[in-house]
C-alpha cells in the first residue's frame, strides 16, 4: 500500500500537505499560518509536516523524485526547499508545476531579484541573509567592507570563526563571498565550470586567513556552532544568518552586546522557496495554489518579519514604514549565489584546500 492520496473526502474538503524543513522558527511559522489559512478557506484542509534540520532534509526531495519515478503519489503537495532543489527537480524529473502570476496572483508582489532563480517553478516567500555578528564590547573598529573584515581578522588572531561550509550556510556564505569578491561582479550568476579556475585567488586569501581563525583554523560544525562560540565569548565576530541571530537575540540567548551588520559587498543570502509538486491531482493543485497565494499576503509577510526575523518576500515598498525601519541594520541587502552545482564544488574544494591545509 502506498501513501494515501489526499483525496477530497465526503464533506467536499480538499486535503493538501505542506512539507517543510529547517529550524524551529520555520515550524512555528507554519503552525501559525496554516490555521489562519484554514479559517479563511473552509474547503481546504492543510496537513503540515515538518522535517527538522539536519541530515534528513534531503529525504523529502528524494521522496518526491522516487514517487515520480515509480508513478506513485508522493503525498507531498507543497514543498519548501532551496534553489538547488528547484534545479534538481527540474533536471531529474520535472516534478514541480510551473508557477506564474496566472495561477498565483500575488507573485506579482514578489521582489524581482528573488524571482530570478525561481525559474517560474517556485514562490520565494521569504528570505534571509548572512550578516556579520559581533560583540560590541570587544569589537571597536567594526569593519564596513569585506577588505576591512579580512584586515580585522588578521589584526585579531583567534577571534573570528566561520563554520564548516559543508555543514551550514553562514560558513559557506563566507567562503563564497570571499572567493567571488575577487572576481568580477556578475560572476555569482555563472554556472559554467570554467570559472572554477579563477577561484584560486579567493582560496589563497582563505588560506592566508586560516591561521588567524579560531584555534588557528578550526571551523565548527553547523551554524549554531559558531553562534555558540560567539555566545560563550570564545570569539568576537562571526558570519551568521540574520534570522537566527535576531531570533536568539530576541530570546535572550545572545546577549545584548551582540550586534549585527551587513558589510559591503554583502554576504550571500537568499529566498526560501515553495514548490508545488506534481501529483496529477487537479483539486489539490488548486488548493495548493490558493495557499501559495495566501503566503504572499501582507498579513503573512508580517509574521515572517516579526516571528521568523526573516526578510519579507514581497517588495519592500509594499511594507509599512515601521517595518522597513526594523531591517535597516541588516538590509544592506544580500547577494544571491546562483552558481548551482558550483556551490557544492566550492565547498568540496574548500574541504580539500582550506580545511586540509
Amino acid at each position: 500500500a502506498c501513501s494515501s492520496g489526499n483525496e477530497a473526502d465526503a464533506s467536499g474538503k480538499t486535503e493538501i500537505s505542506v512539507y517543510s524543513s529547517g529550524s524551529k522558527n520555520v515550524e512555528q511559522f507554519w503552525e501559525k499560518v496554516i490555521p489562519m489559512f484554514e479559517e479563511e478557506h473552509e474547503k481546504i484542509d492543510v496537513e503540515f509536516v515538518f522535517v527538522p534540520s539536519g541530515t534528513g532534509g534531503q529525504s523529502t526531495m528524494d521522496r518526491i523524485l522516487a514517487a515520480k519515478e515509480s508513478g506513485n503519489d508522493s503525498g507531498v503537495d507543497i514543498y519548501e526547499g532551496s534553489l538547488e532543489d528547484i534545479i534538481r527537480g527540474k533536471e531529474e524529473g520535472d516534478i514541480f508545476y510551473p508557477l506564474t502570476t496566472e495561477n498565483v496572483e500575488n507573485l506579482g508582489n514578489v521582489q524581482e531579484q528573488n524571482l530570478a532563480g525561481a525559474n517560474d517553478l517556485a514562490v520565494p516567500y521569504r528570505a534571509s541573509s548572512v550578516v556579520l555578528a559581533y560583540n560590541e564590547d570587544k569589537v571597536k573598529d567594526v569593519p564596513d567592507t569585506a577588505d576591512e573584515l579580512y584586515q580585522w581578522i588578521k589584526d585579531n588572531p583567534g577571534r573570528f570563526a566561520y563554520n564548516d561550509p559543508t555543514t551550514g550556510g553562514s560558513g559557506s556564505s563566507f567562503v563564497i563571498t570571499t572567493v567571488y569578491n575577487q572576481l568580477e561582479d556578475g560572476a555569482m550568476n555563472i554556472q559554467d565550470e570554467s570559472i572554477m579556475e579563477e577561484w584560486n585567488i579567493g582560496f589563497d586569501l582563505l588560506n592566508e586567513l586560516a591561521p588567524y581563525m579560531y584555534q588557528e583554523g578550526v571551523y565548527p560544525k553547523k551554524n549554531q556552532g559558531t553562534i555558540d562560540l560567539l555566545a560563550n565569548g570564545e570569539v568576537d565576530m562571526i558570519p551568521a544568518w540574520s534570522d537566527m541571530a535576531l531570533e536568539q537575540k530576541n530570546a535572550g540567548l545572545l546577549s545584548e552586546s551582540i550586534k549585527l551588520k551587513q558589510i559591503d559587498p554583502a554576504f550571500t543570502g537568499g529566498p526560501s522557496y515553495l514548490m508545488l509538486a506534481n501529483n496529477g491531482d487537479e483539486a489539490r493543485k488548486e488548493a495548493a495554489e490558493e495557499l501559495l497565494n495566501y503566503v504572499l499576503t501582507l498579513d503573512v509577510q508580517e509574521i515572517v518579519m516579526d516571528q521568523m526575523y526573516g526578510y519579507p518576500g514581497i517588495k519592500w515598498e509594499l511594507l509599512s514604514e515601521e517595518d522597513q525601519e526594523k531591517f535597516t541594520d541588516v538590509s544592506g541587502g544580500y547577494r544571491i549565489f546562483n552558481g548551482g552545482e558550483l556551490g557544492s564544488e566550492l565547498v568540496q574544494q574548500w574541504q580539500k584546500e582550506v580545511a586540509a591545509q
Binding site: Y19, S23, K24, P52, S53, G56, D62, K222, Q224, Q248
Partner: protein
C-alpha cells in the same frame, strides 16, 4: 607498622584514581545536569549565578516533545518484542541444533556491525523508497531491528547453551514433550541472558537516531531525533534539559535491571563455539 603504612598509601592512590575515573566519566554528565537547572551561567563563573526551571517548563510544554517520548517508548517496546520473536528461535537453534552452515549463519550477524552504519542506512533508504517503506512505522521498526539482531541472537544463544542438557532431559523424563520442555525449563533458565539482551535492544532502539532520521522523518520523530535538532537550534541550557530527560529513562531502566546486567550473561554472548 610497615603493613599499615602501605595500606594507607594504597587507599590514597585508589581514592585518587576513583576521583579521576568519576571526573572523566561523569563530569560531562554532571555539567549537563547543572546546565539544565541553570538560569544564568556566563563565562567565567564556575557555578551558575541563577538557578531556574525556565527551560524545563519550555520543554515540557512543547507537545511534540512529549509526543516524541511516547513514540520512542512505543517503538522500543515493539522492536524489543518483535526481535524477541524473531531472534529467540534462531538463538535456540544455534545453541542446540546441529544444522548445515551453522557457523556461517551465526557469524553473518556480525555484518550488522562491520558495515559502516551511515553507509548501511543510506543503502537501506534506497531500498525503502522502492518498497514504499519510507516514512512509515514499519520502516522505522525494521531499521531499529537491524541494530538489535546481533545482540538478540548471540546473547540468548549463549544463555541457552548454558542450560545443562541433563536438566532438559530430566524434564523429558518427567513426561514433558520437547515443546513443553522448552517453554517450562529451557526458556525460564535462559531468562537472565534473554533479559539482558532485551534491555540492550530496548535501549538501543530508544537511542537510535541516525537511521530513524533517514527513514522516519518527518512523521516519526523520536526523542533522539528531536535531540539532534535541539542541539542544532537551541542554546546549551535547553539542550541540557533534553539530555537529562532523554537520559533519565535509560538510567532508570539500567538500575531496575541491574540485577540482570551481569558481566557474564553479556560477555558469554561474544564467545562463540
Amino acid at each position: 607498622m610497615w603493613y599499615f603504612r602501605t595500606l594507607g598509601e594504597r587507599k590514597i592512590i585508589e581514592f585518587i584514581f576513583l576521583c579521576i575515573f568519576m571526573l572523566f566519566f561523569f563530569g560531562p554528565l554532571l555539567n549537563l545536569l547543572l546546565l539544565a537547572f541553570a538560569g544564568e551561567w556566563q563565562y567565567p563563573d564556575v557555578l551558575p549565578k541563577v538557578w531556574s526551571l525556565e527551560w524545563w517548563s519550555f520543554v515540557l510544554q512543547d507537545e511534540s516533545i512529549v509526543k516524541s517520548m511516547w513514540l520512542s517508548f512505543l517503538i522500543a517496546t515493539i522492536v524489543t518484542l518483535i526481535s524477541l520473536i524473531i531472534c529467540i528461535p534462531a538463538a535456540y537453534a544455534f545453541a542446540r541444533i546441529q544444522f548445515p552452515l551453522r557457523r556461517f549463519f551465526l557469524f553473518s550477524f556480525l555484518l550488522t556491525n562491520a558495515f559502516p552504519k551511515m553507509g548501511l542506512y543510506v543503502a537501506i533508504a534506497v531500498l525503502f523508497y522502492q518498497m514504499n517503506l519510507m516514512n512509515t512505522f514499519t520502516g522505522i521498526i525494521l531499521i531499529h531491528i537491524i541494530n538489535t539482531l546481533m545482540f538478540m541472537t548471540w546473547i540468548p544463544s549463549a544463555a541457552f547453551e548454558n542450560v545443562h542438557k541433563s536438566q532438559e532431559e530430566a524434564a523429558r523424563d518427567a513426561g514433558a514433550s520437547p515443546l513443553r520442555v522448552f517453554w517450562h525449563i529451557t526458556l525460564p533458565m535462559a531468562k537472565p541472558g534473554i533479559i539482558v539482551a532485551s534491555i540492550f535492544t530496548f535501549l538501543s532502539s530508544l537511542n537510535e537516531a541516525e537511521g530513524t532520521f533517514l527513514v522516519g522523518v518527518p512523521n516519526y520523530q523520536t526523542m533522539p531525533v528531536i535531540m539532534y535538532s535541539i542541539i542544532a537550534d537551541y542554546p546549551s541550557t535547553a539542550g541540557a534539559v533534553f539530555s537529562v530527560i532523554l537520559t533519565l529513562p535509560t538510567l532508570i531502566l539500567l538500575f531496575a535491571a541491574r540485577r540482570f546486567v551481569g558481566a557474564d550473561a553479556f560477555a558469554s554472548g561474544f564467545k562463540m563455539k
